[in-house]
């Protein structure tokens, strides 16, 4: 069972806005999906700890400095940026 309030809390964590008029429908959809996810709790067998599929532990390499992308290239996706930075509106 998931409530409207829980959906709003989760949305806040996920940085999503939920319109009031869509909240009831979304809550019902999430109840169905979570009930479906909940079916794993019917499993009564033993399970061990599982980490990752390749059996990899931490993958380390030498910490060597290599060339990065030029700033102007990185800022291409925000029309070149402003003064070499990503622009956002002033918050005052």
């Amino acid at each position: 069972m998931v409530t409207r309030e829980e959906i709003l809390d989760i949305a806040l964590l996920a940085k999503l806005s939920v319109d009031e008029e869509k909240l009831d429908e979304l809550t019902k959809q999430m109840m169905d999906i979570i009930a479906f996810a909940d079916t794993i709790n019917a499993y009564e067998g033993q399970t061990g700890e599982f980490d990752n599929i390749n059996g990899l532990s931490n993958v380390f390499r030498e910490d060597t400095v290599v060339a990065s992308y030029p700033r102007e290239q990185i800022l291409k996706n925000v029309d070149g940026g402003e003064n070499g930075f990503f622009p956002v509106k002033k918050k005052m």
């Binding site: 998931v2 829980e6 959906i7 989760i10 949305a11 964590l13 996920a14 940085k15 999503l16 806005s17 939920v18 979304l26 959809q29 999430m30 169905d32 999906i33 979570i34 479906f36 996810a37 909940d38 079916t39 794993i40 709790n41 499993y43 067998g45 033993q46 399970t47 061990g48 700890e49 599982f50 990752n52 599929i53 390749n54 990899l56 993958v59 390499r61 992308y69 290239q73 990185i74 291409k76 996706n77 925000v78 990503f86 956002v88 509106k89 918050k91």
Partner: protein, 486 residues
């Protein structure tokens, strides 16, 4: 109809001087122009890039230089594979206007071989879907029946290959997104072992499940492309590369091969014609000398909820980067940074992506982590163990790819959970990190293709591809689609 390697045939024609690469490329560009209005397989066409590459290949041929097998072959990439200087949007509003500044390793490899990129193909938004209908660019159509979906999420690649408006393409498979559309469109789709192909530059959905692989018109083509793109990559620490090449191991000889059959895979089949096709395929394999080994896999019923919990948890983390600050869409009106990020994400992500982010955030949140995420992660280990155990008694596992043929457009909008259930046969492979290939094995009463998948043990792509090849070359079960370049 017995498919032959289209790549080999075109390579032979180009090297013999019977066909120039520009002529071949222009034929595909023209075919896209004729077909794409109905299919919406391509969301971006790169005709000039394709022709420039074709001219470079022709120059090499004129100079008497040798060309590699994939050189000059017109192909496509799913729109979540990064291409330096070419827009890559995951078919999402939130990545509108985004142009990567680097290539995915797979594309870097193919570009180095002068692969002719025709364009980027349609997909479910952020690879979350089974129908290609959640794309910001609108739904793609199935070349066999355009009112039906091509499957998803790599539906655009599968539709393009089936309609012969690309020789081959690369898709990505997180829970079946290569195999399911390959099944729906009647083509070959290979999901490699996790770690066989680099994920660097693949825009992440669920990093522990994602894998790039080929969609092709024949098994041999799948093997040729897999051999080209697999390999260790220092940019992806989980990528160890393939253990062996596959195209040189396609003998078609499978006498003594043990094919495992778990009834749990067949219980959910919704169409009698799909069950009949699978039964006939099993009989055909027996006639070729394979041995059928029945076994139980009861843990399979937990695979789907495990998948959705883990995939959505990883997605909620991976998609946290879309904040409207550094690239892509940004809301027009906002009051402060938090408001900007929330509005950007809510306006930029579609409904299905938002549902999955919410589920992922829920299962990772305090109070629910142990009951959902941790339990699912540990059950994943149990599923991995069950498959490893199964492979002590068989060489490959045969299963339906999807319990049904391509559904009509609009089906997925009705019920999210009902739609998730169509992934029942494909997700276990991703959970266990195994390789699997989907190949056509007949058609239903409406002429829509039926697919079967052959699942192998880790890094045994050569075994499943050879089994698929033996079937393809002897069963006459491929479904022709008279479209595109002829």
């Amino acid at each position: 109809m017995k498919p032959v390697s289209k790549i080999k045939r075109l390579h032979a024609q180009m090297t013999a001087g019977e066909l120039s690469c520009r002529e071949l490329t222009q034929r595909y560009i023209d075919a896209i122009g004729r077909e794409n209005g109905e299919l919406n397989a391509y969301v971006l066409q790169t005709a000039q890039t394709a022709l420039d590459t074709a001219d470079a290949v022709d120059a090499k041929l004129r100079a008497g230089q040798p060309i590699s097998m994939l050189e000059g072959i017109p192909m496509t990439l799913k729109d979540n594979i990064s291409t330096d200087g070419i827009a890559t949007t995951c078919c999402s509003k939130i990545l509108q206007g985004y142009t990567p500044i680097y290539d995915a390793t797979v594309w870097q490899t193919l570009k180095h071989e002068n692969a002719v990129l025709l364009g980027k193909t349609n997909m479910d938004e952020f690879a979350m879907g089974s129908s290609c209908e959640t794309s910001f660019y609108g739904a793609a159509g199935n070349p066999h029946h355009p009112d039906h979906v091509p499957g998803g999420s790599s539906g655009g690649v599968a539709a393009a290959v089936a309609a012969n408006i690309a020789v081959y393409g690369l898709g990505s498979d997180t829970g079946g997104s290569i195999r399911q559309p390959a099944s729906f469109c009647g083509v070959v789709g290979l999901k490699p072992t996790y770690g066989a192909v680099s994920r660097y530059g693949l825009i992440a959905y669920a990093s522990s499940l994602d894998q790039i692989g080929p969609i092709t018109a024949s098994v041999e083509d799948a093997a040729l492309v897999f051999d080209a793109i697999s390999g260790k990559d220092e940019m992806d620490s989980t990528c160890t590369g393939a253990r062996e090449t596959t195209a040189d191991q396609l003998t078609g000889e499978i006498r003594g091969l043990k094919i495992g059959v778990a009834k749990e895979y067949f219980d959910g089949i919704r169409q009698p014609t799909v069950k009949d096709a699978l039964q006939k395929a099993l009989q055909h394999f027996q006639s070729l000398g394979a041995q059928i080994v029945p076994f139980d896999l009861p843990i399979l019923k937990y695979a789907l909820p495990v998948y959705y919990i883990l995939a959505c948890a990883e997605a909620s983390s991976n998609l946290g980067r879309y904040d409207g600050i550094r690239y892509g869409y940004r809301t027009a009106h906002y009051n402060g940074t938090h408001d900007m990020i929330c509005k950007t994400r809510s306006e930029g992500f579609g409904a299905e992506v938002q549902r999955r982010i919410l589920l992922g955030t829920y299962v990772l949140s305090s109070g629910y982590y142990d009951a959902y995420y941790k339990k699912a992660q540990n059950l994943r280990g149990t599923i991995v163990g069950a498959f490893h155990n199964a492979f002590t008694g068989c060489d490959v596992i045969l299963a339906p790819t999807v319990p049904m043929t391509a559904f009509e457009k609009g089906f997925t909008a009705q019920d999210a959970v009902e739609t998730y259930l169509t992934d029942i046969c494909t997700v276990p492979v991703n959970i266990a990190g195994l390789p699997a290939v989907s190949i056509p094995c007949g058609a239903d009463e409406n002429g829509l293709p039926i697919g079967m998948q052959l699942i192998g043990n880790s890094f045994c792509e050569a075994v499943i591809l050879n089994a698929a090849y033996s079937y393809e070359q002897t069963a006459d079960a491929f479904i022709a689609c008279d479209r595109g370049v002829r």
